[in-house]
């Protein structure tokens, strides 16, 4: 009896529940680890930075701190879209840097067990394929889970810290 409880406890520990902040981009739903999200902002003026890499939209002033905003659509290989009322800037921390990612909208926080996360189809050759860490079915929709640390390469993270 005790043994079976231990087994169940180990299984439960392995099958940890993770929280994900979901956002929309081009009608698909993506999820990022809630522990990496600092805050969500309404769209504000983004000041372009001359000579910045193509994936950088510009910078914003967040309570006295300068935060670089990434063009997420461009990073994901998606066509650009007009900014509207639901556009948000999600402030995240990845690779010891605080950056903003521009998304179409932010939806909710969802709870997922590790066992509910499936591997993404392993057929991608493009750079954007590597930052999908898994997928999960939620009702009728598929949640695509993004590994924020892999959103940029080591060189790009280093480049970003120089802006």
């Amino acid at each position: 009896m005790t043994e079976s409880r231990n087994v169940a406890a180990v299984a439960a520990k392995d099958d940890a529940v993770l929280q994900w902040v979901t956002f929309k981009l081009d009608n698909e739903t993506y999820g990022i680890n809630v522990m990496q999200v600092q805050e969500v902002l309404r769209h504000t003026e983004i000041a372009p930075v001359p000579g910045a890499p193509h994936y950088v939209l510009g910078i914003i002033n967040l309570r006295g701190n300068v935060v670089t905003v990434i063009d997420t659509r461009s990073r994901f290989g998606l066509p650009s879209a007009e900014v509207d009322d639901s556009t948000r800037i999600v402030i995240i921390e990845a690779e010891k840097q605080v950056i903003g990612i521009l998304v179409d909208s932010v939806a909710e926080v969802v709870y997922l067990r590790r066992s509910e996360i499936d591997n993404a189809p392993n057929v991608g050759t493009e750079e954007s394929a590597k930052f999908i860490q898994g997928v999960s079915n939620r009702g009728d929709e598929l949640l695509i889970l993004v590994d924020l640390d892999k959103l940029l390469s080591d060189e790009e993270w280093a480049e970003l810290s120089q802006i």
Partner: protein, 328 residues
């Protein structure tokens, strides 16, 4: 049927039957042999070696009249597409296949086929010459020579930088796995008809909500939920004929169904299901070797369409390989 679709189908099967780049490679190889023979300065030996090989290559290159025959055959086949595909249409098998699809779709699909049957004049009249022409083409030494020399030619033409990720694919010949008489399902994609043996068919699913996943090749349509898991959707037109798949074709393709491959999580998107028919092994021009297209088991002579080697296709898809990607 638009002209562009005719041309697409014709070009595709010309490619299937003649493998032009291999023919060119053979020509080059033969030319080298001829040069060596001339250098030996023994006219008789040179003649003995060069002449028969030249003849082989000449016969391997599609001659204008053969091309014309092929075009006529394909055009007739396309004309037939609006008539019953053949008299041995197996409605029961098709209904069984479509049982997993929603009822209204099943009705629509079968109604279309029935309508075609009613409006046809006489399928036998047109079907006979097509078979004859197809057999004639199939019996041409060109195909045989190409198949025999395929592995040799591939060694010459294969680039040194072949994808190391590609697993070795050594499929069992499909004709060895099948009974003498077996059923196939014909389906259509962008004017192109393909056949899949029913023993390799995992099911038919209607295309519903497709989730697009970033960073995937053009031939990867996305994923769709299917029985508590994800089905990976193959953009069949983009996979099978990437050279033809441009923006215009992408706009025109309207995928309706997914042909699920065996018990894999891969589904080939198709525009329409034609029918399920019982055919004999002899009605297929089987490919002797897997070659560059292990996914293609052969060509069904009467319908002039490719028959899929599903296991090899699954292996290629699992390895992330497109139709034209090099295979180790």
């Amino acid at each position: 049927m638009s002209k562009s679709v005719d041309e697409t189908v014709f070009d595709y099967f010309s490619l299937l039957l003649s493998e032009p780049e291999e023919v060119q490679a053979q020509q080059a190889a033969v030319q080298r042999q001829v040069n060596v023979a001339e250098e030996i300065d023994t006219a008789a030996i040179a003649k003995r070696h060069a002449k028969p090989v030249k003849q082989e290559v000449v016969s391997a290159i599609p001659q204008p009249e053969v091309v014309a025959e092929k075009q006529q055959a394909v055009e007739r086949a396309l004309a037939l597409d609006n008539k019953p595909a053949s008299s041995n249409l197996d409605k029961q098998a098709l209904e069984k296949l479509l049982s997993s699809v929603v009822p209204e779709v099943k009705t629509a699909s079968i109604t279309t086929e029935n309508t075609k049957v009613e409006t046809s004049a006489d399928p036998q009249v047109d079907a006979v010459p097509i078979t004859k022409v197809a057999e004639k083409i199939a019996e041409k030494p060109a195909t045989a020579i190409i198949e025999e020399r395929q592995s040799e030619t591939e060694e010459e033409t294969a680039p040194a930088t072949q994808a190391s990720v590609a697993p070795p694919i050594e499929p069992t010949a499909l004709d060895e796995q099948l009974d003498d008489e077996f059923q196939v399902l014909f389906f259509k994609v962008a004017g192109l008809t393909l056949a899949v043996p029913l023993i390799s068919l995992g099911g038919i699913v209607q295309v519903e909500h497709v989730n697009h996943i970033i960073g995937r090749p053009k031939w990867f349509l996305g994923v769709q939920q299917y029985r508590d898991s994800q089905l990976n959707l193959v953009n069949t037109a983009a996979w099978v004929m990437p050279e033809k798949y441009d923006e215009k074709l992408a706009q025109s393709v309207n995928y309706q169904y997914l042909v699920v491959l065996e018990n894999s999580n891969w589904g080939l998107a198709c525009e329409s299901l034609i029918n399920a028919v019982k055919i004999d092994k002899s009605q297929v021009n089987w490919r002797g070797k897997a070659g560059k297209r292990p996914w293609l088991a052969g060509v069904v002579k009467e319908q002039m369409c490719g028959i899929l080697h599903v296991q090899s296709l699954i292996d290629m898809l699992n390895a992330g390989l497109g139709c034209q990607d090099p295979i180790n």
